[in-house]
Amino acid sequence: MTYDPTDLDDDLDPGAVPGPDDEPTAAERARARSFAELLDKVVAGRAPAAMPAEDRALIEVATVIRAASGAVELSAARRASIVEEALHRAVDKAPPAPGNVVSIASRRAKAPWVIAAITSAVAIAAILALFLRPAPRAAAPTTTAAAPTLPQHLRSRPADPLIGEISRARSGDAAARIDAIFADRLDGFRELSFGGP
């Protein structure tokens, strides 16, 4: 028995579908097994990126059936990743507005140059200090007790007060937190090096 001999208009699967009781050929058995194994991977969430067009067409139909049955869900991690990516892309494309979210990408683009400039300045200052320092005195008293105490905001310190508790909803926004810490530390460096922010 042939299932539907009139339905011959499909370029991806032009042949008629045999009936359930028709004996399969060896080629059809191999093809069916290959499809079943591919479907196993898709159901397990390991769908290969590339597959033959004929297989893809059948996998799409299988996925539509599974989706309508409520069998397909987006994992929480994947959902968060998609939301973050969409927000970042949209924010980068949005025109500047007062109080708008600051584009992290633009800061990132400048960051390597800023870091390189600061590193060079620190290296030059260190070399100059090495050559220009006064000669050591013979019996210099210990200076530990006399060392000036820097204010808290210029010393090494934890970033917790700056960042605060990280809520689950903002857990993916690490770049903004790094930017905030970087800006805070840079202010301290400027104050120490140049006498002001």
Partner: protein, 198 residues
């Protein structure tokens, strides 16, 4: 999976976030996008595309467009979900227009007018998502009714109940190789009929 209906306080919170986003604080859209990502993906995009990777791309594009065009949204006392859903459906149509490989699915979708939500205007996202899932289910059941019973059973066991192949074969009292052939033919037969459902 049934989605939970929005409470009045959730709608108020949604309105507050949207107004904040419309004042330029686009970050305020994050909780809204997070809340509606799953129903958009599972009931709007994936059932119309059938490809998980493409569906994720469309979901991301939908969200980007929503954030970019949030100024155009007018709060009318109901959830933003129908607006997001309409953006998603338009994106799905764009994909079907640009790719030829999903012709059968595109044919099956041809009767759906993008502007037609198929649900009441005031319905919230949970009701819309459930109605949409029922609508997909009805179309699939109607197609299933047109294929031989053994094919229906193969699809039911493997794709709806998601039983392992070995269990499906045991339930149908056939060897696993025979079940593979039945499922392969069943999906082919379903596909050939699905495009005719419009």
């Amino acid at each position: 999976m049934a989605f939970e209906a929005a409470t009045a306080s959730e709608l108020e919170e949604e309105q507050r976030l949207i107004e904040r986003a419309q004042r330029g604080h686009l970050d305020a859209m994050r909780p809204i996008l997070d809340r509606y990502a799953q129903p958009l993906y599972a009931t709007v995009i994936l059932p119309r595309l059938g490809d998980a990777a493409t569906a994720e791309d469309v979901l991301r594009d939908t969200m980007m467009t929503a954030v970019e065009k949030i100024q155009r949204f007018t709060w009318q006392g109901k959830s933003i979900y129908p607006w997001l859903r309409q953006i998603a459906i338009n994106k799905v149509f764009d994909v079907h227009r640009h790719t030829k490989r999903t012709r059968r699915l595109a044919d099956a979708l041809a009767h759906e007018v993008p502007e037609d939500s198929g649900v009441e205007d005031g319905a919230d996202h949970a009701l819309i998502a459930d109605q949409e899932r029922r609508s997909h289910r009805d179309r699939i059941d109607a197609t299933m009714a047109e294929i031989p019973e053994r094919y229906r059973l193969a699809i039911q066991l493997r794709l709806v109940e998601e039983l392992p192949r070995e269990d499906c074969a045991a339930r149908m009292d056939v060897a696993i190789g025979t079940f593979d052939v039945l499922l392969f033919r069943a999906v082919r037969a379903f596909r050939k009929k699905f495009g005719d459902r419009s």
